[in-house]
């Protein structure tokens, strides 16, 4: 059995799963200290399920704490950035386009040194060891222990970053280092930004992981613990201590994965309707479709793999215009229970519309009995029109696609959606996030820019796949169960034909559990 816990801004949810079956679930408010909420959720599911603790094989946690730390500029450590890439990029130092407050929080310490390579592996400049040693000596003098290292085209040749990392460790014992090639993709500024954010979270990550472990150990669990990543896979404890930033956006991802599990649909649109927004994502082969655009986290441009989510300003608390022709984006949010008309308030919300139309029984329906039927009808049409339009924009092509409705606001959809081939409303949709965390496997990803004219396509893909497998094993996957989840090939404009960006994602079972089940 597995326990999945989702720590959100408002709620902490937990589920106990036995294979595919939900044995127990709970939804409780997130506590200010986070941990009390987690222990309470654990206690509730274990009490409801009445199973011995020894039967719990793993605890999976999805958390927004690291995203919030960046957005709120707290718990961030000072970081020194070393970029290997001169003479390219001279005058464009690390953090050059960051908002001042977060650049200040990290301390604005950066060094640019010679080296790196071209797209085809040709050296950009000879490494200057004296220059690197001088930078490291300066970092040591300043007492900075968290270091982010980037190099031009490091996703293709990580050797310069690794070499600098070794030098840092030799000079500053106990230094915490993030190399940009381990954070992801082509685009040096965005990849370097990802490495900087990650490095600034390393100290906090130790505290969070220690606290999580303490909480589950204090309840007597001896099983391994895993943390959700933004691509719908898990990291073991050692991995999350090194890559806390990979948890960014894991909440929406877990919601999509949970919806996949609840319906058995691998290809579908998932609409998560909350109080203020409807978050629309796409399941492709059981995993969230990823966004291809630059994503800002706390005002910093990054190229993290993030689920492609469109937020529409329509939720259960959205405020309805007097004629019902437009709804939102303003919402009464959690004050719905006092300000909504069915709760005795005087604000017309989308929840009031569906109660008035007789599609749901929430609050006191006599409070909306006198609403103009024309406004109620128009409002209900507006809800469907807004969702239809948004779903259509997220569809991968013009073919009809099944739509899965989750979240507390799913009742807003009373009729058919034109964009949907079929509507699914799974039970337990309220804890989809926790389910998504509990069912996850372990993944790995690698990306390279390769020339098919130099390395044949099959060999090129194999090379990148091997790197992805190596990453997955490092994150705790059982090598024997790893399979390729996705291969993406992108040709590059204005380059010779055959130059292709190859990205491979692999997924495998959790090694610790596989061994156990094998016994």
């Amino acid at each position: 059995m597995r326990i999945g816990i989702d720590v959100g801004g408002t709620h902490t949810d937990a589920v106990l799963l036995d294979g595919s079956d939900i044995v127990a679930s709970t939804k409780a408010l997130t506590s200010a200290d986070v941990l009390t909420g987690i222990t309470n959720a654990l206690d509730t599911v274990m009490a409801d399920a009445d199973v011995p603790q020894a039967q719990v094989e793993a605890v999976m946690i999805g958390t927004t704490q690291f995203t919030n730390a960046v957005v709120e500029r707290r718990e961030l450590s000072k970081v020194a950035a070393i970029r290997v890439g001169l003479p390219s990029g001279e005058g464009l130092p690390p953090m050059v386009d960051w908002p001042d407050d977060i650049a200040d929080a990290l301390g604005r310490t950066s060094y640019m040194v010679k080296g790196g390579s071209l797209y085809d592996g040709w050296p950009l400049a000879e490494l200057d060891e004296d220059q690197i040693d001088a930078a490291i000596a300066d970092i040591a003098d300043k007492g900075i222990e968290n270091v982010a290292i980037s190099a031009v085209f490091s996703p293709m040749n990580a050797a310069p970053e690794r070499m600098v990392a070794e030098k840092v460790l030799a000079a500053i014992p106990g230094a915490r280092i993030t190399c940009s090639h381990s954070m992801g993709r082509l685009g040096i500024m965005e990849r370097e930004n990802a490495a900087l954010l990650n490095a600034s979270l390393l100290t906090f990550a130790d505290r969070v992981v220690d606290a999580f472990l303490e909480a589950i150990r204090a309840r007597g669990f001896t099983c391994p613990m895993y943390v959700s990543q933004n691509d719908g896979t898990l990291m073991n404890v050692d991995f999350v201590r090194e890559y806390p930033a990979l948890t960014f956006s894991s909440g929406p991802t877990n919601s999509l994965r949970g919806a996949c599990k609840l319906t058995g649909l691998n290809d579908a649109i998932v609409v998560d309707i909350g109080g203020t927004t409807s978050d629309i994502g796409v399941l492709e082969g059981g995993f969230p479709r990823e966004s291809n655009v630059v994503i800002e986290v706390g005002g910093v441009r990054t190229n993290f793999r993030m689920p492609d989510i469109m937020a529409v300003g329509l939720g259960g608390g959205s405020i309805v215009a007097p004629d019902g022709e437009s709804i939102g984006p303003r919402s009464v949010g959690h004050r719905l229970v006092t300000e909504g008309m069915v709760f005795g308030g005087d604000t017309l919300t989308s929840t009031d519309l569906i109660v008035a139309a007789g599609h749901a029984d929430i609050g006191d329906k006599s409070c909306v009995a006198n609403l103009d039927p024309a406004v109620v009808a128009a409002g209900n049409q507006t809800i469907h029109r807004m969702l239809d339009g948004a779903i259509d924009m997220m569809k991968p092509n013009a073919d009809p696609v099944p739509v899965i409705l989750v979240g507390g606001g799913a009742v807003l959809v009373s009729g058919n959606l034109k964009a949907a081939s079929k509507l699914h409303r799974p039970e337990n949709a309220g804890v989809a996030n926790a389910i998504g965390a509990a069912i996850a496997q372990i993944g790995g990803e690698a990306e390279r820019l390769l020339s098919y004219s130099q390395l044949p396509r099959d060999a090129a893909i194999q090379k990148v796949t091997n790197e992805a497998i190596e990453r997955a094993v490092q994150a705790g996957a059982d090598a024997g169960t790893i399979r390729v989840a996705d291969i993406e090939e992108t040709a590059i404009p204005y380059m010779d034909e055959g130059n292709t960006r190859v990205r491979v994602k692999v997924i495998g079972d959790i090694a610790a559990l596989a061994t156990k089940e094998g016994n």
Binding site: G85, P87, S88, G89, E90, G91, L92, V96, D97, G116, L118, Y119, W122, L124, A125, V152, F153, L186, G187, I188, M189, V293, G389, D392, M393, M394, K395, P396, N397, A398, A491, I492, P493, Y494, M495, D496, E497
Partner: protein, 361 residues
């Protein structure tokens, strides 16, 4: 008139609109240009009629694969050093710098080069938009020799060219760009003031700033933006501006052939009823057909913007489901001569259709 650091956001936005789907992402060039203007102060923008006949002008810009510079960043001094290398090569100082392509990132590189040296930038460029090949620029069409020219790469390697015609030069600089990591900066097509005057699309730098401001101040639904856009184009070298279509992208298929992103996008009305608009893409948006009838073709400008905000959408970023509006803008008169059309008419891109000016469609 001067270009100041605070004008750059508008200039980039206007330049991306004029890039008709191509031209690359100006984020990094904008950062660099902004650094240069903050360090050295504003750059004078010189009207082409105020340029002395014997002034020595050179055009400067980036050539290669914009995708590569996401990884191998340009340096702040690349543009200025390209200029120095050019001056060393020809043995004289230049009097002014000009852009060869206003569409996209190349609108900013001449300004960056001029800033450190206190040189003026001539207000205008060699395309009035973005186009994929050097022989399509007005300087080449007007018969200006591409060389003496120099190319400067990431490591300061300098290559010089002595080439009689722009088509050959284009072939050589592409090959060099690949050998130099994918991107180079060139100083090329040197001209005197007297030679430049009939060869330039005048006023496009100042116009880009103005266009960017109009797009920013009227940000919102594309159809509601039309009167403001009509106004700003009417008062320029372009003239006509039309809203061709509002709808959603119902199909987009492109692939890379010979270094170009080639394919087609299909747009259908929001209501699903009515005719579809198809757009042929070769890095830029080239031909628009409504229910099979041509409604705009290169060298007139076809621009796709986000329907809700009016923000221009690059061809690489266009994808299924986006709600968009399509504008067509008349090209500058220069391109409508027979000689120019040999280089930039639809047939030059492999389309077997004649060029009919937008106003006559």
């Amino acid at each position: 008139m001067q270009v100041k650091a605070e004008d750059l956001a508008d200039l980039s936005l206007g330049a991306v609109f004029l890039a008709t789907g191509g031209g690359g992402d100006p984020h990094v060039p904008e950062l660099i240009c902004s650094e240069a203007l903050k360090t050295y102060g504003p750059v004078d923008l010189l009207a082409v009629e105020d340029l002395p006949d014997d002034a020595h002008v050179v055009s400067i810009g980036g050539v290669g694969a914009p995708t590569v510079s996401l990884e191998m960043l340009p340096s702040v001094d690349d543009a200025a050093r390209t200029l120095e290398a050019y001056e060393d090569h020809v043995g004289r100082k230049v009097d002014a710098i000009v852009s060869f392509e206003i569409g996209g990132a190349n609108s900013l590189i001449p300004i960056t080069a001029a800033a450190g040296r206190g040189l003026p930038v001539v207000d205008g460029d060699g395309m009035g938009r973005a186009l994929p090949e050097a022989q399509m620029m007005t300087y080449a069409i007007a018969g200006v020799c591409p060389s003496p020219a120099v190319a400067y790469d990431y490591a300061g390697n300098v290559t010089t060219f002595t080439t009689p015609d722009t088509s050959t030069y284009e072939r050589h600089i592409r090959a060099l760009a690949m050998a130099s990591g994918g991107m180079i900066t060139t100083a090329e097509h040197p001209m005197t003031g007297a030679e430049l005057r009939p060869a330039i699309i005048p006023g496009t730098v100042g116009f880009s700033i103005k266009l960017g401001r109009v797009l920013r101040e009227n940000r919102g639904r594309a159809d509601q933006m039309l009167p403001a856009l009509k106004g700003v184009f009417a008062d320029s070298v372009y003239g006509e501006c039309r809203l061709l279509y509002c709808g959603k992208v119902s199909d987009k298929a492109t692939r890379i052939i010979g270094g170009y992103d080639i394919g087609e996008a299909t747009l259908t009305p929001f209501s699903d009823e009515g005719d579809a608009l198809t757009i042929n893409i070769k890095n830029e948006y080239l031909v628009a057909r409504l229910a099979g009838e041509v409604v705009a073709t290169v060298p007139d400008l076809i621009v796709i913007v986000d329907y809700e905000t009016g923000a221009p959408i690059n061809a690489e970023r266009l994808r299924y489901g986006q709600r968009v509006a399509v504008f067509a803008v008349g090209c500058p008169a220069f391109f409508r001569t027979e000689r120019a059309l040999q280089a930039v008419a639809p047939s030059a891109f492999g389309f077997d259709i004649p060029y009919v000016p937008l106003e006559e469609l």
